[in-house]
């Protein structure tokens, strides 16, 4: 198996993390990341990115919006049935 460069490892990263790479390629990436401090750091930050953005954008439904949604739907849904 050829040695992997960082740039190829990055290209394959999501397939690697989702476990859909062929076994030999997966093993080659394991070996590269184990010996490359830059890739180890890159993978760590790549994996954390979704969590950080998920937590930062976890909007909660305001009570007044919940009430207006209910009123909106009550006013409209029976009309559909009769139409």
């Amino acid at each position: 198996m050829n040695e992997i460069a960082c740039v190829s490892g990055v290209e394959l990263l999501i397939d690697y993390l989702e476990g859909v790479l062929p076994a030999d390629l997966h093993a080659a990436l394991d070996a590269h990341v184990a010996g490359c401090a830059r890739c180890a750091a890159f993978v760590a930050s790549y994996r954390e990115t979704p969590r950080i953005l998920r937590e930062a954008t976890a909007a909660t439904l305001p009570a007044e919006l919940e009430a207006s949604l209910k009123a909106f739907l009550r006013a409209r849904t029976p009309a559909f049935k009769s139409s």
């Binding site: 989702e18 180890a40 750091a41 790549y46 990115t49 950080i52 954008t57 909007a59 739907l73």
Partner: protein, 201 residues
């Protein structure tokens, strides 16, 4: 002793609602409204999310009779919500999004990362290093700047934590396409987070 009845499944509620049971429809709304609102905020904006929320449930109501149970009810509903958000984005005059291409990782001629390990790692700590309100605002901006195709896949996969297979189903894509789009979005947003904390990617 009374054993509480198990909550009806989404699919059971959907069947009752499709047959005209308004209480079942309200139960569906109650179960999904917070998730649809959160998704709408992520796919559009706080300003547009209330409209997307209303439109989504109106569409759900109209299309319930055509729900055949080929996918899970939640996946079907997310597909409707994603489409409603997309229609909204198309309808609203959007400012041209400045590309996030500049935040992709950089490599030297040998294909090695240009940045140092410490620089590459820093995006992981964006939530420690930035004020949470600033981060919330910047996170919304960053997601809004993603190309539309990447945003839908990224939001459903990584922010709503759906499986790749479910996202593929909801968006009508092949799983490999979903992975590629999510990957590009992660690369861009990872670099964007690094830049926010003032470090090279």
């Amino acid at each position: 002793m009374v054993v509480p009845a198990a909550e009806p499944s989404d699919e059971a509620l959907a069947a009752r609602a499709a047959a005209g049971d308004d209480a079942a429809f309200e139960a569906i709304v109650g179960r999904y409204q917070a998730r649809v609102y959160r998704l709408a905020c992520r796919l559009t904006s706080d300003t547009d999310a209330p409209d997307v929320l209303q439109e989504t449930f109106l569409l759900v109501y109209r299309h319930l009779p055509s729900f055949r149970g080929e996918s899970q009810f939640g996946t079907w509903l997310y597909r409707i919500a994603s489409n409603a958000a997309l229609m909204h984005r198309r309808a609203s005059a959007r400012r041209p999004a400045e590309s996030l291409d500049a935040f992709l990782p950089r490599f030297d001629a040998q294909g090695q990362h240009v940045a140092t390990p410490a620089e590459l790692q820093i995006a992981s700590r964006a939530d420690e290093l930035l004020d949470s309100r600033l981060l919330a605002e910047k996170a919304r901006d960053g997601i809004a700047r993603l190309p539309d195709l990447y945003r839908d896949a990224f939001v459903l996969r990584d922010l709503e934590e759906m499986s790749t297979a479910d996202v593929a189903h909801a968006l009508g894509l092949e799983p490999a396409t979903v992975r590629q789009r999510v990957h590009r979005a992660r690369l861009m947003l990872r670099g964007y987070l690094s830049e926010l904390v003032g470090v090279k990617r």
